[in-house]
Amino acid sequence: MRIAELVTAIIIALSSIYLMWKSGEGPSWDPTAVRFANIGINVDNSGPGSGFWPFWLAAAMLVAAIAVMVNWHLRATPESRSEEVYLDSYGKRMLLTVCGGLIAFLILIRFIGFYGAIPLFLFYYIYFLGRHSLLAAIAISAAVPVFCFFFFDVAMRIVLPKGYLDPLFIPLYDIFL
């Protein structure tokens, strides 16, 4: 936990520096613009530039991240004193199976659409991770997409992408839309 606290503060500090640098960027149509020309208050009636707000906030974030590091050094916060493990083996396995499942879910949407990916993800989670009965897993995996289709596509007119499964849905559009 103690190491994680420091590493996180360093990552935040580095991100703030990146954001400050990025805020100083001029508009894309003006290649002559000087970096950091836009972070102050212009005198020519156009007020603060586009980088004013993010730049100074990122600077404040950098100062706060340094304060977190100082607290870490002084052992002033509970996290900087804690000797607990940041993520134990259970946590790591959980992160791998659950987040891995979610990432696979989003990748699958690209190919087989929401209505192909939702049942696969639900079945994977309920049957393999949740260790529920096969029947429960199949029932829920089948019911949720049907509900989603009627709620989103039909009732709310929000057409969820169907990937390569699109042709299968044309008869359904004929009936319901």
Partner: protein, 506 residues
């Protein structure tokens, strides 16, 4: 007295079977749309807008379509609290503050109480603001006109001042969270200079559209908070003892009166913030929560399931949503995406929103105000009736509820913005939030900052253009000045307290 006759006429018009039926249908649609994470009143209202054209042709009256849409708006405001309490995901920015105490109550097995308090507080908030609306609409519209850019920014500063109390003890981490939210809100496109900016990693496809509130909120609450719960409880969460009996229901109803203070604060504060154009219901609910905590006898209970902490934001967001109708109708300014669509509707039905609406279109205005009273009553009854159904959600085993919440988060974010990049960003924020959550970084300030940032930044810069760069504009204007001073005092108070504690310890 004239007002009372007009109002009674209006209520009778609203009670005609067709209008009553439309209000009932609208409230039920709104409740369910609002309870769905990712979808809010704006989706319900926008989708049914073309349908109102048909209603208008059938009834020949302009008030019936508006009664229908206003009922959806109300229903969704009630519904937003439901997902905040039962799932821990705020369905809309207005319901973020409801999670602070609503979620802990649900985890303690008192979800029924939280839901009842939320419903009743919403009802009181909605009714109080409707009464204020009835009595003083034209007068209040002229007050709203006095709020220019410097005043709105001062008000945002006041809302940020209430953050300081929300973050907990670790001030640097709270500052990081606020700054992060405010910077993320600036990603994409700068309205003032017209320049694309902060296109992180130079990716137009990912960032030119900016980072939307729900992407961060659902990421933090739907993914991050869920991962954290799974990690720290190892699926052993017995979410709640969520059985509902008539006896428990009655006890909850009786117990709701203990939250009177929060309800009162929320109803009044919500209304006055709501009528200010551009402010909207989110700062209203947030400030109500902050003030309720400040005046409470025991502020330390807030965040751990304090009834006032549910009542204040819930009464405020309903009160503010009625209040927000005022600038929309009398000034033609939408304070939120939903009122923007309602405004579009009014134009489509052939009305001209503006100061003359009350005098020129009494046939539209008074039945609508009448329907506010009726829809509120319908909404609270419906909401209470559906509570047992919503509580069933909590009785699901966590290993089934968790994947359902993940699917809802993914579909909800997609439905809200119809862009797959936003879904990936949401997942990224969720995993990031999980790592920060373990180290006790408060994340609610970031979520709220991303809502207030897009209001605060332009008003700050527009004010500074007006003043040729002088910051005194926030102090030397008659309305902005006092608000700014109160905000600065509120921000400094905890810091002074902290320094004094440090000094005493030495």
């Amino acid at each position: 007295m004239d007002v009372i006759t007009l109002l009674i006429d209006g209520i009778f018009t609203a009670l005609q079977p067709l209008n009553l039926g439309l209000a009932l249908l609208g409230v039920v649609i709104g409740l369910f749309v609002g309870a769905m994470p990712g979808l809010g009143s704006v989706n319900g209202v926008a989708i049914l807008l073309p349908f109102t054209f048909v209603i208008q042709q059938i009834t020949g009256s302009v008030s019936s379509p508006m009664i229908f849409l206003a009922a959806i708006y109300y229903g969704a405001m009630y519904g937003g609290a439901i997902s905040s309490i039962t799932l821990g995901i705020p369905g809309a920015s207005t319901a973020v503050a409801t999670t602070f105490d609503g979620r802990p109550l649900a985890l303690q097995g008192k979800a029924d109480r939280a839901l009842v308090i939320a419903a009743l507080a919403s009802f009181v908030g909605g009714t109080v603001s409707t009464i204020l609306f009835t009595g003083a609409a034209p007068l209040l519209a002229s007050v709203a006109l006095k709020f220019g850019n410097p005043e709105i920014f001062a008000l945002m500063l006041l809302a940020f001042a209430t953050f300081v109390g929300l973050g907990g003890d670790d001030i640097p981490k709270t500052i990081i969270s606020i700054c992060l939210g405010l910077i993320l809100s600036a990603v994409g496109f700068d309205i003032i200079s017209g320049a694309p900016r902060l296109l992180l990693f130079d990716s137009t496809a990912w960032f030119s559209r900016g980072i939307q509130f729900l992407v961060l909120a659902i990421g933090v609450y739907g993914i991050g908070e869920m991962l954290w719960t799974i990690n720290s409880t190892r699926y052993k969460t017995e979410m709640t003892e969520a059985r509902i009996t008539l006896g428990r229901m009655r006890a909850a109803l009786a117990g709701a009166s203990e939250a009177w203070k929060g309800t009162l604060i929320g109803s009044l504060l919500g209304f006055f913030v709501g009528i200010l154009p551009a402010a909207g219901a989110t700062p209203g609910s947030l400030m109500a929560y902050g003030v309720a905590k400040m005046v409470s006898k025991d502020p330390s209970k807030f965040g751990h399931g304090e009834p006032d902490g549910v009542a204040a934001p819930e009464s405020a967001n309903n009160s503010a949503s009625t209040g927000a109708m005022l600038p929309m109708m009398t000034l033609g300014i939408p304070g939120s995406p939903t009122t923007a669509v309602l405004l579009a509707g009014m134009v489509i039905w052939g009305l001209t929103p503006g100061p003359r609406l009350f005098t020129d279109q009494p046939d539209f205005v008074w039945p609508l105000i009448g329907s506010f009273y009726i829809s509120n009553l319908i909404a609270v009854v419906m909401n209470l009736a559906f509570i047992p159904l919503f509580l069933r959600v909590l009785r699901m085993p966590f290993t089934i509820l968790a994947p359902l919440i993940f699917v809802l988060s993914v579909v909800g974010v997609f439905a809200a913005y119809q862009n797959i990049y936003d879904v990936w960003l949401m997942l990224f924020f969720g995993i990031g939030a999980f790592f920060l959550r373990i180290l006790n970084y408060p994340l609610a300030p970031a979520v709220l900052a991303i809502v207030l940032g897009p209001i605060a930044e332009p008003t700050l810069r527009q004010s500074l253009i007006l003043s040729d760069g002088s910051w005194m504009i926030f102090l030397n204007r008659p309305i902005a000045g006092p608000i700014t001073i109160v905000a600065i005092v509120l921000i400094l108070l905890p810091l002074v307290g902290l320094i004094r504690r440090r000094l005493l310890r030495r």
